[in-house]
Symmetry: C2
Subunit: 343 residues, 2 copies
C-alpha cells in the first residue's frame, strides 16, 4: 500500500474543485485525487486481490476514495466527481465488466454502480485505456492537440480515441481495441493470446516480444540476450530492452520488428481516424524518446508511417510517447468525471 510515491501538489495551491479517479488493473488499483488542472493532490494504491471477488474489490475502491479525501483533510462529499477506468470487455452504458481477461471470475459484474454505492458518488465509467488517453489529452503529452489516439503497449495492446474532448467508445463499448486490428491476414500469421490471428497484439505487445525472443533463442540464436537467458535470467521485455541498449543485435532486431508492425497498424488508424497526434504509452516504451532504445523504437514507427501513409498525413501527424506513465489512467478517469459526461 502506497500513498506517497510521487510529488504531490499541496492543497493550498490546488485549483478547486477536486476529482477522484480510480484505475483498476489486474494487479493493482490506483486512485488519484486531482485538482481542476489535472494535478495530483493525493494518491493511493493497493493490490487488486481479484481472487477475493469483485464485491470485495469494489468495497476497497470505495474506501480508497474516502482515503483520498482523508489524506487532504476534506470530506468525501467535497469531491466534485468520481471516475473509474477498468479493463474491457465491458458495457459502458450499463456499467458492467463483461469478462475481463485479467480479472478471472468477474463476469457481468456491475462495477460502476457498486463503486458508487461504496463511495457515495455517481461514477463516470470508462475503458482503462480510454481513460489513459483522456488523461494524456487533458494534461499529458496530448494536451496541445484537439484529437489523438493512444496506443498502450503492455501485456496486450490497448488504446483510446479522443476527438474534441469526447471519447469514442463504440456502439458495444468495443471501440479502440487496437490490439485486435488485423496487420497480417495470412494463414501463417502469429496469434494473440485471445486466438486472433495476425492482429497487432500478436506482434507489438510485450507478450509477443517475449514469444519471438524465446523462439529465436530456442532456434539457436547467439548474442548477449540469448546468453543471458541460457544462463538463467528471466526473459522479460526489460531484459530485451537492456540487451538492445547494450548493442545485442537480436534484441535490437526484435524491438524494431515490433515497431515496424506498430507502424503498419498506425498507418491504418491514421487513414481511419486522422487524429492530430498518435501517442504511444503503456509499460513497453523502452525508456521513451530520451533513451537510445526508446528513440530507435519510435523512429522505426515513424519510418514505417513515412513509407506508407498519405504524404500530407505522414508530414503533419504527430507521433510521440505518452508522458503520464502509470498515472494516465487515474488522472484521465478523474478528468472524465470532470467533463461531466453521464454514461
Amino acid at each position: 500500500m502506497s500513498t506517497n510515491t510521487r510529488s504531490l501538489l499541496p492543497l493550498a495551491e490546488a485549483r478547486l474543485p477536486l476529482y477522484a479517479g480510480v484505475d483498476l488493473g489486474g494487479t493493482n488499483i490506483k486512485a488519484a485525487l486531482v485538482d481542476d488542472g489535472g494535478r495530483i493532490v493525493a494518491f493511493h494504491t493497493e493490490p487488486t486481490h481479484a481472487d477475493r471477488g469483485p464485491e470485495d474489490t469494489a468495497a476497497r475502491m470505495g474506501r480508497m476514495v474516502h482515503t483520498l479525501a482523508h489524506l487532504v483533510g476534506i470530506a468525501t462529499s467535497d469531491i466534485a466527481g468520481v471516475g473509474l477506468g477498468t479493463p474491457g470487455p465491458q458495457n459502458l452504458t450499463t456499467g458492467v465488466i463483461l469478462r475481463a481477461g485479467n480479472l478471472p471470475g468477474w463476469d457481468n459484474f456491475p462495477i460502476r454502480d457498486r463503486l458508487a454505492a461504496h463511495c457515495g458518488h455517481d461514477v463516470t465509467y470508462a475503458n482503462d485505456a480510454t481513460a489513459a488517453a483522456y488523461g494524456e489529452f487533458w494534461v499529458g503529452s496530448g494536451r496541445d492537440y484537439e484529437s489523438l489516439i493512444l496506443l498502450t503497449l503492455g501485456t496486450g495492446v490497448g488504446g483510446g480515441i479522443i476527438i474534441g474532448d469526447t471519447s469514442i467508445d463504440g456502439a458495444h463499448s468495443h471501440a479502440s481495441e487496437f490490439g485486435h486490428i488485423i496487420v497480417d491476414p495470412s494463414d501463417t500469421a502469429r496469434k494473440c493470446p485471445f486466438g486472433h490471428r495476425g492482429d497487432l497484439e500478436a506482434y507489438s505487445s510485450a507478450t509477443a516480444l517475449k514469444a519471438r525472443a524465446a523462439e529465436a533463442i530456442e532456434q539457436g540464436a547467439g548474442g548477449a540476450l540469448a546468453a543471458a537467458v541460457r544462463a538463467g535470467e528471466e526473459l522479460t521485455p526489460i531484459l530485451i530492452s537492456r540487451e538492445a541498449a547494450g548493442g545485442d543485435p537480436l534484441a535490437r532486431e526484435l524491438i524494431l520488428e515490433a515497431a515496424r508492425w506498430l507502424g503498419i497498424g498506425i498507418v491504418t488508424l491514421m487513414h481511419t481516424l486522422d487524429p492530430e497526434a498518435v501517442l504511444i504509452g503503456g509499460a513497453m516504451t523502452f525508456g521513451g524518446e530520451d533513451a537510445a532504445v526508446g528513440k530507435a523504437f519510435i523512429e522505426r514507427v515513424r519510418a514505417e508511417v513515412q513509407a506508407r501513409a498519405f504524404p500530407l498525413l505522414a508530414a503533419q501527424t504527430i507521433i510521440r510517447y505518452a508522458s503520464l506513465g502509470g498515472d494516465a489512467g487515474s488522472i484521465g478517469a478523474a478528468g472524465l468525471a470532470r467533463r461531466g459526461v453521464a454514461r
Copy 2:
C-alpha cells in the same frame, strides 16, 4: 442533362423547409432538393466538365441550385441550407479541394466559397463519401442506427463515419480513407493506383477486380468470362458480375476474393470504431442482397468477420448494403446542411 430520372415528392406533400445538396463527381454533378424528411422534391444532374476548370464548374453548380428552386417554384432564398460533397483530398475547414484525383488541375481550389458566391447561400462542405454516409444515416439503410460506417466500392474505395449525428472528418480532413487502410503488409502485396502497397483499394475496388481478372485471363484462365474478354468484350465489373451470376468459376472467385479482403478491412474498422452498422455502398455492389452475386458477396464479407472479430461484435454488428444508391451523396449533403454544422 436530366431533371426527372426518379420519382419525386410533390411539393404539396413536402415537410418544409427544403435543403439543397450538391454531389460533385469526376464525371457528373448531382443536385437534389430535399424536404425536412430527406425526400427528394427536385433533382438535376449534368456533366462535370472538369476540363473547363473549377470556376466554370462552381458557377454551373451555383446555377443548378437556382434551377432546383425554379423546378418547384420557390425562390433560391427560400432554400434553408446548401450542402456540398466533393472528392478528397480536401481541407474541410477552409473549404478547399487540395488535389482531387479525378478532377485534374483543380489544385487548391476554394470550392466551398465559390459555390456560396454563385448560389447566394453559405455552403456546408463535406467529403463526398462522408456525405453519402450521412445520407444513409439520415434516411437510408442506416436510419435505424446511432452510428455507422459506410464503405463505398467503386473505382476506388472510400468511406464515411457517422457517430451520433456527427461525422468524423479528421484533424486534416483525411478520416475514413478506408481505401488506404493496410490489409496486406507484405512486400509482394498489390498496389493501389496511388502506389500504396497492400491497402484495401488494391484488393476490393472495381479497379482491383478488373486488374485481377485481366491477370488471370492473361495467364490463360478458361471459362465464360475469359472467353467473353478474348472475344472482344470490354472487361468491366459489370461483365464480371454477369458472368459470376451465370456460374463462371473465375468471375465468382474474383468477386469472393474481393469480399474476403473487404471483410478483413471491416474487422479492423469494427475493432477501431465499433459502429452499430457497417454499410457497403458505391457502384460495385453486385445488385445488392436481392441478387445472387450480391448476396454471395456480402455473405463472404460476413463470414470473414465471423471468423476474425470479437464474438460479441461478430454477433451484434449489422453488415448490410446501403440503400440510396447514387442519390446518397446529394441527399446527405443536404442533410449535413440541415444539421446546421458550420465548417
